[in-house]
Symmetry: C2
Subunit: 458 residues, 2 copies
């Protein structure tokens, strides 16, 4: 609940941009996956950093939760106001503030989406590489430490955020990080905020690294008889140091999903979707080196996407994995998972996940950014089927335990949000109290996205 006095102050500050209508609240209570709808008490639409600061000050004075939201494509319920309060809709703060092409960086507001940014950059010869599939907001991507298909080459949001402006829990506006490519001056607050899911501060501006559009881009697909061969090909490729720009695994179930959802017309075998960036000579050399490795694992049906259109179509299809996985469930919701393991353990982890899905009687795809050791099992669930939900929960737990047993992590890129808090103790152990200490130090009233990331305390 918002205290009436707080609501009055917020309405005075924002006018019609402070909304308590059922429609707006309902819209902000939805999510892409299986979490129940949880509308906030109100929605605020700030247009400036100063307004964000004022909103947080008002909320701080009245112990009111503030939950930032961008494109709302988060997959672990990060943007849901589960303890009520204000949904801080950042989508009006969506401008490109400066393209510093000479320094290969760009300054943006957090509500801008990655696709919109790349459209703005089109004439510069530069691009922003991080690609989680969804057209997420850059603030949300930062807050969840997103990555995606190109992280194997260009890194995650952690690697691509240079600096930021943020509003802290007391309404202070800070700037942290530097437009220089590196800095060694004090605690790295910028990268502490990356991945903090809106629980330590609200991002109001970002300086992001850009890359030159490669002179040559070569995309291709190939097919394997079984998933072990596909994954072992990936492992050897990465170990060989081949600078892959993208190397994505689709298991036979994921291919079935693409056939159902997008008429992909592919044989239901494991596939790798690949991309090489460099000079024309370089990409040809890389592709040849890859094919020599792939041949040893029985790869067939090598197909290059020779035109830009073919390449775009290939990755557009890949980006529909979420919906294509759900399509196998005929109207069910998708329970996404997201583990990341050391590359040497990838075949073990993928095969175990496939076996576990069958054992649990679940329909599940596997798709992944396997060059990083990161993959997703996408489980079709009916949230009203308690038995199926219990089996999905059990499968998800087994997958997390497998990842930790193999030296990996329970989330490669989706974050913790609501759904993975139960694994925080197992993954972080004695480090968890120090995360709590940081949260308590930076947000002593626990108003910033309360109930997320950290499991309930002792």
């Amino acid at each position: 609940m918002i205290a009436p006095e707080a609501a009055t102050k917020l309405a005075t500050l924002l006018g019609t941009r402070f909304v308590t209508s059922d429609a707006d609240r309902a819209q902000h209570g939805r999510n892409e996956t299986y979490y129940p709808d949880t509308p906030p008490d109100a929605v605020a639409y700030p247009e400036t950093t100063e307004e964000v600061s004022q909103i947080v000050r008002i909320c701080a004075a009245h112990h009111c939760p503030v939950v930032a939201v961008g494109a709302a494509t988060s997959l672990e319920g990060q943007h849901l106001a589960t303890q009520g309060g204000v949904s801080l809709d950042m989508n009006r703060m969506n401008r490109v503030l400066a393209v510093n092409d000479e320094d290969l960086n760009v300054v943006v507001q957090p509500g801008l989406t990655r696709v919109a940014l790349n459209e703005e950059l089109r004439s510069t010869g530069l691009f922003f590489p991080v690609d989680p599939g969804a057209d997420a907001s850059l603030g949300g991507m930062t807050a969840t430490r997103a990555s995606g298909t190109t992280a194997v080459r260009y890194g995650t949001m952690r690697d691509n955020v240079l600096a930021m402006e943020a509003v802290m829990a007391d309404g202070s506006i800070i700037r942290t990080g530097s437009k220089a490519r590196k800095s060694s001056t004090g605690y790295d607050l910028a990268h502490l905020l990356v991945g903090s899911e809106g629980t330590l501060g609200i991002i109001t501006e970002l300086t992001l690294r850009l890359q030159g559009i490669p002179e040559s881009t070569l995309a291709a697909t190939c097919r394997f008889e079984n998933v072990e061969d596909a994954v072992n090909c990936v492992i050897l490729t990465i170990q060989s140091g081949l600078p892959m720009a993208r190397i994505e695994l689709l298991d036979h179930m994921m291919v079935r999903g693409f056939n159902a959802y997008a008429n992909a017309g592919l044989p239901e075998k494991p596939h790798l979707f690949l991309e090489f960036h460099g000079t024309p000579t370089g990409t040809a050399e890389q592709a040849q080196s890859f094919r020599e490795i792939a041949d040893d694992f029985g790869a067939t049906n090598w197909e290059q996407a020779t035109t830009t259109e073919d390449r775009t179509a290939l990755w557009a299809m890949r980006h529909k994995a979420h919906y294509a996985s759900a399509a196998l469930g005929k109207g069910k919701h998708l329970w996404p998972t997201d583990v990341c393991v050391p590359i040497s353990q990838l075949a073990t982890a993928v095969v175990q996940a496939q076996d576990d899905a069958v054992r649990h009687g679940l329909t599940s795809t596997i798709v992944g950014h396997v060059g990083d050791g990161n993959f997703h099992a996408g489980i079709c669930v009916d949230p009203n089927d308690a038995d199926e939900m219990a089996r999905a929960e059990s499968f998800s737990k087994a997958l997390a335990e497998t990842a930790l047993r193999l030296g990996g992590t329970v989330s490669g890129e989706h974050g913790i949000g609501l759904g993975k808090q139960k694994y925080m103790q197992a993954e972080h152990g004695t480090a968890l109290p120090f995360m709590r200490a940081i949260k308590a130090a930076l947000d002593p009233q626990n108003i910033l996205n309360p109930g997320k990331l950290l499991p309930p305390g002792d």
Copy 2:
């Protein structure tokens, strides 16, 4: 001062590895630059993480400072126990614990140096790329967020630390980060500790990323008529996206230093020292692209180091820049500086630094990891010459202000330690109280390297 009771407990714990002799104390009170000798009250030589934990517990119980030290090559006095207490000498914890060649990572103890690590890795075909010049300990490099000549290609310590074990201020042993290549699970404590200069925790184990030794390595040097041409060549090279492995600037004064110190026999003109990594075709293509850019800036005397010996000699000379700069001062100490600016501002910053040195009547070299926009003016000073020290201080201040004015940072890689605290407010402004809040939350007694990194509080 160490409370006698604490000293008794530490002696009981460590036996002869707890030392209060003048010789050991004096040795641990020295530094590479201009800070006065400040011996600790005692030196402890732990051999295990458990011992580090016990030492910290004892010190915590008696409010005794604990200052970790490795190779003691830090350049801002980070390892000096300026508030007394125990110098925690990590050099006996110097083993390689696991080479995970399949996962391209290695687990090491913090006292291991980078050169020793690369010697251990020699048979694996892998190497650890971060190269600050000095044969620093890997724990120290992590604690100061070091980088060096290869950061332009392989990143800084921030990018190359995957996970760590650390002892916190209450003696807790934590593990943070993951052996997976990426993770999105909670606050990034590992990278908060990177660059924290021993003020938030004591690093007791590190998991570091490794790189495959490139199939082909091509090193070269070239010469320019003036420093603007050299720097503008660097700027265009970086903006062109050429994947330089090393691109180092030496101004004419630095060349004079190498001539004096190492009989380099080079004309006293600005030089670039370069390295290209890749396939044989790739490095040749990169070198050709670079030369086309360099030609436009009047580069001459292109010389390739064709043999491994030539290449090693080239970088060995470069790594002596600290001593070669000091050599110009005929027995003086070196006052190193370390700014990093957006690449577009590099020429402005370098020329300003040269002019300012002359204006201050100082002998100063400039050498830098210019691909990152990072450079060092190395000033020869006599710490007993108050006037010269004041001029050095004034120059250093002007340089820091120039860096901030140009959107850069007062330290690219040396860190804050003692000497740069005075710029923390200017660089971080309203973010500084949140750094203090983190320090207070994680080290409430302020026993971990007190008096470093954060300026004295309000």
